[in-house]
Amino acid sequence: MILIIDSILKTLTTGSGFWNPLVWIFTIAIVLLLMYILRGFGNKGYKEGTEQTKSFLSGNEEYEKEKMHVKASNVYWGFLETFRWLYKRFDKMHTGNVSDYVLWFVVIMGILFLIIGVI
């Protein structure tokens, strides 16, 4: 009996564990159900279209739609700022010049020659 359950459960064994998407979906469905029940305990006084749904910007007026949307170049600003030293080097690497692309190829070929040919 245990063997049968085992074979149904362990559809994909990886050597130290197993993975079964159907079990996963079952679990996630239960979790979603729980969330739905929890949501039912919420406050019933919510009404759409009133001032309840207006964005709260410390009392300031709401900007127009174009300005409210966070631009892609501003996302992850902190991360990019922290690793600016790294990105400077990457930018130096990606020159967009086809001669440099070939230069990288020749450099890698030389390194491989040294590793494989000499050893």
Partner: protein
Amino acid sequence: MIYNIPYIAVVGLILIGLAAVIFKRNLIKIVIGITIIESGVNLFLITLAFRENSTAPIYHGTGSRLMSLPVPHALTLTSIVIGVAVLALMLTLIIHIYRHYKTLDVRKIGGDEE
């Protein structure tokens, strides 16, 4: 030693071509560099086919039967044909690039337009 001269020429041609591709700024010169590399590789294949005192691989009926290898010749021909296609394509693209950027300098092309 004398039989090694073609191989030295092959390596020399490939290095010259690579140098042209890497260090020249003009797009036309880059294309010329690629063509030089290609001739180097073709010369290598032709050299492989050579046998001493051999004739061209044509069936004569009489005479010397020692022929150079036909297979590398076929390879070289195919590679030349491909080379022509690549060359034509590259030159066409250079015409287009010149129309858009008004320059053939490799450092000044290729930026995003925004």
